[in-house]
């Protein structure tokens, strides 16, 4: 089973560092860095807005734990958004390419 893992980063530098780290450490086949968007959330009773960059990470389900650990290592937040969605279908050759991760 393959998955998409999303995380958000406070700036381009962190986004770049994390995307290169998880690909170099063969914890992800590919990472798409979106352009900076705006995250809205409640913090201590106030609605806050921050500029954040969303990463869309494609990997294998069995690599989720080490991928999470690698993101936490390089992320400045204590509790960053790290969520995973199942890939239910896809181009067979592309899914095999994701699977080439040892």
């Amino acid at each position: 089973m393959n998955i998409i893992v999303y995380t958000t980063c406070p700036n381009e530098e962190v986004a770049r560092t994390i995307s290169h780290k998880v690909v170099t450490e063969r914890l992800a086949a590919c990472v798409h860095r979106h352009q900076a968007g705006t995250s809205v959330y409640e913090w201590e009773g106030r609605v806050e807005e921050d500029s954040e960059i969303l990463l869309m990470i494609k990997t294998k389900e069995k690599l989720y734990e080490p991928l999470e650990a690698a993101i936490l290592e390089a992320h400045p937040y204590d509790v960053p958004e790290i969520i995973a969605v199942s890939i239910d279908n896809g181009l067979a050759a592309y899914l095999r390419w994701i699977d080439h991760l040892d």
Copy 2:
């Protein structure tokens, strides 16, 4: 179970209003507003293009119905895109933070 809910908005004002409304009303833990993209769809036999802003809303499955109602209240379309995808895994502390929504 937590979910990602996607909706698209015609402009920044609607996107901002909806993202603040669903966070303020504690129907979502966090909303990521993407930069404006382009939506392509068929309408009365013609392929149309509109600028739209995608919202990526993170919440609890049991809040889907009131979240949908709140989006419809603030959205100018009669039938906006509102679709939900299951979050199958994630950072435990982040998932607990989503769950803190009453």
Copy 3:
């Protein structure tokens, strides 16, 4: 069952061609073209970065095979990213609109 299908395109021209093709051929109800982001991946031992445009295609599960074939026809890569995620819930009228695809 409805699905979101993601594919990434090397430039605006390919992104536009594919989004119009799949809507015109009634293989998708709607396609959202994101602004160009950056894809990071490993190729022959090096970490590469390319500008890519993500398409978020909304369609019916039973149209996945012909949609995949149509994307491959118009895509310059041999093995593009084509991955599908299930839509688990949504605005009933919007889901019916997706279903209006024959």
